[in-house]
Symmetry: C2
Subunit: 260 residues, 2 copies
């Protein structure tokens, strides 16, 4: 079901995936371009230095495994560029993508000894890795950081509930409309220049990933997107982008009104 080069976020040092040297690293969080949109916005200057000290930065190519279902839960990650997919699988290979983590989002939290989900890069991804003991130290030393994380997990839970509504009760058409609008929102939040992102959705993932996210098959996803294109609700754009031509109509469809 998956494919792609199988690098790992735990590959031994020396690999291209690793971080610059330590003295540069102290500043890393201070100058991070998406800091304001992430957990790290709870930190003062001292805290940012502690964050930089507690984490390592990884640069990973598309298709890299970040965490594997059932493996020991050793680390926590903060995505600072690109998109990561999180998923769970059944023994026979059926897979459900439970979410996409874009820049500013975290992943890898677990109270169990092992991860109950897998995570893999979708495109070129930059992330900060916190080993568990270091994360725990941070949480204890910086109550505002812990509070911020609690809020972030709470938000993720609300997102998950929204996705359950989609998976359990929406039609294929409604699912795809919701997805496109969500990707538009995600692009708005991570794009550097806002105007350029107007009505654009970033869709770096394949049809397989979209299908596994929406609980559909790739054929149904493809057919539905084609239908939207024929109805002039959307249009293709360069670079894995889709332009939303009628946000209002798509919103209607996504929320279950018959509208066309």
């Amino acid at each position: 079901m998956t494919s792609s080069p199988q690098t790992s976020a735990f590959a031994h040092p020396g690999g291209a995936a690793y971080a610059p040297k330590a003295d540069v690293d102290v500043m890393r969080c201070l100058v991070c371009d998406i800091r304001n949109r992430s957990l790290c916005n709870s930190m003062d200057e001292e805290g940012l230095a502690a964050l930089a000290h507690s984490s390592r930065q990884l640069l990973l190519p598309p298709g890299t495994t970040i965490v594997e279902e059932g493996e020991p839960a050793l680390a926590f990650f903060n995505v600072t560029r690109g998109t990561v997919k999180l998923f769970k699988s059944l023994p026979d290979g059926r897979r459900q993508i439970t979410g996409f983590a874009d820049a500013g989002q975290f992943l890898g939290l677990s109270t169990a000894q092992t991860y109950s989900f897998g995570a893999e890069t979708v495109d070129n991804v930059r992330l900060c890795r916190f080993l568990r003991p270091q994360l725990e130290t941070l949480l204890s030393d910086y109550p505002t950081f812990e509070r911020r994380l609690l809020a972030a997990v709470t938000d993720k839970l609300a997102e998950a509930q929204e996705q359950m509504l989609l998976l359990g009760r929406k039609t294929a058409r409604e699912k795809v409309a919701t997805f496109l609008l969500d990707r538009m929102k995600a692009f708005h939040q991570t794009a550097n220049r806002r105007q350029e992102a107007e009505n654009l959705a970033s869709v770096p993932m394949t049809r397989v990933d979209i299908a596994d996210y929406l609980g559909l098959t790739i054929e149904t996803v493809s057919r539905t997107i084609s239908a939207f294109r024929r109805s002039l609700l959307i249009a293709s754009a360069e670079n894995h982008r889709i332009r939303i031509l009628s946000v209002a109509t798509l919103l209607n469809i996504a929320s279950g009104q018959k509208a066309d």
Copy 2:
């Protein structure tokens, strides 16, 4: 889609739903019979007194609305007896139950100003209500409580991911098998005498609720349960209970093996 008497957890004092007088209340958390299985197990004696002081106990009949989708998020709840259903709805009335909170579980956490979900009692429910400012004080004053809540939300998120796998990728048969096993586990965790609970599942909710939880119709749920009964995988028991006759087979079905 819902029915039932429309009481509210915010009904004015004096209603039957309200708590005993304050001097008894100081001891409430100390003597709480399910304390060890809830968030409150992170508290020492002083903390338990603070919890009791910060919360009010509510006793609610079946079908009572606890929180309403879109209403201001004023409170946080800890279920200490019975079962609560959490759900989200589409404008046309389609509903997805995102989870059942049994004794020991919390509900009502929100970072937004309003609740993004509704909650309603399934059977007779006892719960502790914390108004938001009081909860925040508790979190600040008792770091172990905050850490425990973070862990609890993290667990809920893992549960939600498991449910997404179910909703998106499992067949009706697999969904119902998973549900029955989950209800057996829930009963084990909340039952006072363990032996009595052996292989019993507590199913206090209606077919409508089960269907809205599994992303099915009531007819499909009913047919599937009937098929399991005919295959002697389960049998009815008194008091909204179902006896699991073959846990192993049901486990196989739940995880997607063909087994029958």
